[in-house]
Symmetry: C2
Subunit: 487 residues, 2 copies
């Protein structure tokens, strides 16, 4: 959930100053239009970890907007008035009328997360509470509210540093309380529970947007642009096509794939030694008694020519041919097109004791179909939730799920195409198509960021593989598979 928010996003002072004046003008114009049209209200939900700059950014945002049509509500413990009324009364009474913006600092999302971390709510009770959240947001959205849900995030080390820094200065020391450090001790529990809650309440009409909290300028611009997108979103009313709020693109154009170290490699000798050992362990683990109540699903995605086939063969060569199936996913057949999207994958789900290895997969919906426009934004936005549901069922039934994205640079990709004698690619290289391909690479990079953020779960995490060196990639893949199966 937070993978791409923890990379070192930042904007320089000059970049920031080049962006902000126009952004402010656009925000003011959009806010004026909102007031004139009065066809929707904007609800901004603000959540996230302590010290991630929520207050800082919202204050700034207010100074950018016309303050007469924005109301900020700090939601803390319910008042006496509120405690003797239904749970959501305190949110209902503060809803912004159409034409205006309401900011909820702390919201209907907070209680289920906090109470579950503190052990006051069971997991299934939290699910029931999140169900109420979803119903409420669906109702708001059906009634012409555009929801902008911002989650301000800091990595664990980032948060520690941030609290230390605040404490070190006289002027900011008061902002760090004992409670903040107490919460920090629960960082991991909070992160896990939040990630689950965020996934469960991300819908195509009200998705969460993760705001990296570490660097103020980057954070301000991210929030400003997200609000601009929300202001431009038509209300989801009857008879019109629902237009989902799409994930925002990183303001510094830094993506999670860019953080991989593509220089990583391994010697042929070390490779051969480790390969043999890992294949032996895999074979053993899959013949174990325990695995007869488990199954394995391995998903391979990645750039063309990144070496998916080679990595898959290093797995299958360790296995008994009767126990696995490699499923290559191409364009759907006519039979498959007459069924819901996930149907053609559900068919290949392995029974206990078996493995299915997918060469490309159900992630096609949020990769190629998204980038090429084969489905609507609404379709691929709802696909994240459908995929998480699907994988949750897999894991629940005893399936070990591992997912790989094999990453190579554009230059390496080109070299491999040339070595293959792929002339179609060469031809493209010499024409305008070159630019188009480059643009597509950018679009795919965005799609991969969203895919990792929205479908890397504690049950079925993504492994990003540095595949510039094929040998290194194969070993990393095998090692991940082996430790997942052994666990």
């Amino acid at each position: 959930m937070f993978e791409s928010a923890e990379i070192d996003h930042r904007l320089s002072k000059s970049e920031y100053e080049a962006i902000v004046p126009e952004l402010r003008d656009q925000l003011l114009a959009a806010q004026r239009l909102l007031d004139e049209q009065r066809d929707k209200a904007i609800v901004i939900v603000v959540g996230g970890v302590d010290g991630a700059g929520k207050g800082d950014t919202i204050n700034l945002l207010q100074s950018w907007l016309d303050p007469r049509r924005v109301r900020v509500h700090g939601i803390s413990a319910p008042t006496d008035e509120e405690r003797s009324r239904p749970e959501y009364y305190r949110f209902w009474r503060r809803l912004p009328p159409k034409g205006t913006i309401g900011v909820f600092f702390g919201s209907w999302h907070s209680a289920p997360i906090v109470q579950h971390v503190l052990g006051q709510l069971q997991r299934t009770e939290m699910d029931t509470a999140l169900e109420r959240v979803r119903h409420f947001e669906k109702m708001l959205s059906d009634e012409g509210v555009v929801l902008l849900k911002l989650w301000f995030h800091l990595g664990k080390e980032q948060q520690r540093k941030r609290l230390k820094k605040l404490e070190s200065k006289e002027s900011t020391r008061w902002r760090v309380t004992e409670q903040d450090w107490k919460n920090f001790k629960r960082y991991d529990a909070f992160a896990d529970v939040s990630a689950r809650a965020l996934r469960e309440t991300s819908t195509e009409y009200a998705p969460w947007i993760i705001v990296p909290g570490n660097e103020p300028r980057y954070r301000h611009v991210t929030v400003g642009r997200a609000l601009l997108a929300a202001l431009a979103t038509p209300p989801r009313t009857q008879g019109t096509s629902p237009t989902p709020l799409r994930p925002v693109e990183p303001a510094d154009d830094l993506h999670v794939l860019d953080t991989l170290d593509l220089t990583r490699r391994i010697t042929k000798k070390a490779y051969e030694k480790e390969l043999e050992q890992l294949q032996g362990r895999l074979n053993l683990a899959m013949r174990s008694k325990k695995f007869q109540h488990r199954s394995l699903v391995a998903v391979f995605e990645g750039w063309d020519a990144a070496g998916k086939g080679g990595a898959i063969r290093r797995i299958t060569s360790a296995l008994d041919a009767r126990t696995y199936q490699v499923v290559s996913i191409a364009a759907p057949s006519e039979e498959e097109r007459a069924q819901p999207y996930l149907w053609r994958f559900f068919r290949h789900v392995p029974r206990h004791g078996k493995a299915a290895i997918f060469d490309r997969s159900w992630y096609g919906r949020v990769l190629v179909e998204r980038v090429e426009g084969f489905c609507t934004p609404d379709d691929w936005m709802r696909a994240y939730a459908e995929i998480n549901d699907f994988e949750e069922q897999l894991v629940e039934s005893g399936t070990v799920v591992v997912k790989f994205w094999l990453h190579i640079s554009e230059e390496e990709q080109l070299r491999r195409f040339e070595a293959r004698g792929d002339t179609s690619f060469k031809r493209h290289k010499l024409t305008d198509e070159d630019w188009r391909n480059r643009e597509k690479r950018v679009a795919y990079t965005h799609a991969v960021t969203d895919l990792v953020d929205r479908t890397s779960t504690e049950l079925a995490p993504w492994t990003l593989v540095e595949a510039e060196d094929k040998l290194f990639a194969r070993i990393k893949v095998l090692r991940t598979v082996v430790s997942a199966v052994e666990a």
Copy 2:
């Protein structure tokens, strides 16, 4: 949930024979179109109580349709193959391709209900399971499946009689097993849990349709017409307005309001005695210590001139003026129109120790707004779930919720209008408007049936009041309020 299914619905042989030939022709034609267009699949979910004629009607339906494009799946315990795969694998593998009809006899709904009744699932675990059901059905619907969910119902006494009757004949005795009688002993538990599950999984795009199971001809026609409506429903795909499957109208035009005995009355003397006594009890109950952690919400709906005001005054005159508020609901103000529909009611929710009495209410959405076309079918269809959510929160926060529909005959209504000197009504009576009003009464009667079926819950039940005699009505209302508050 089952109120209107338990009234004595039936069709005579001649009525049935007048309806069926055309219905069959229409079904065949619609099925042919489905095959030609292949833009959607129909999934029929069949559930309900034993002996309610599920098999009987589905068999007949098959004989009415082209059997090559219908597949019936009896879902019983999962096979060995299925048990070692994800929970819903057995449903996925049986999904009908576009252009065809799939019938699921027993479905994804069955397990959560049965397991909760048998104590194998906690209430919150059932909620989590129902959440999976909703996700699955939303996905199906988003992917071009029209869901027709039929719940075959019998009242408790009806079921007992039915089982007895089957047992009494040599030819049908085998159909009643010991298990059937065991299940019968759990009738009430099953009914409560089913009602909750049905409400929680009724959405605007996949609502449950309750099929009264008692009389075969009525049952067959109800199911045939419901299928015809499903076949005529466009798939809910992007860019088109969602067209919800609307509740079916009773084939015999018998409504729950028609079953009230409007001759019920009470003498003036008995009235005065009981009135005084009940008002005393109400006053005492509301001043009790316990009530300081409770509140009261009373909703009054009913025909014009049915006596809502008089009944309300008999309650308020028993109360301390500082403890209650009467909220008369008229057309929304501009401020209210800029907010979600339920906002203007949430504002008036009483705090603990207080009462709010609504003269007309949030049910306007599914009554006047539905009948007059002030909102779309999708709006009023989703309103049932929103209202149930709202009332669940009320009850959860300690509110006692009572809801009344005051029923009078058209003749009595006319008499009262005349006595009031309401000349506008008189004028109407002499013109074409007369017919229009009569048609509206029919439309309202349908709306009341759906309202009772979809929003009468164990937490917040509807009370239908025979109000032809004002005195009788007032006493029935007061008695209901008093016992609800005392409990």
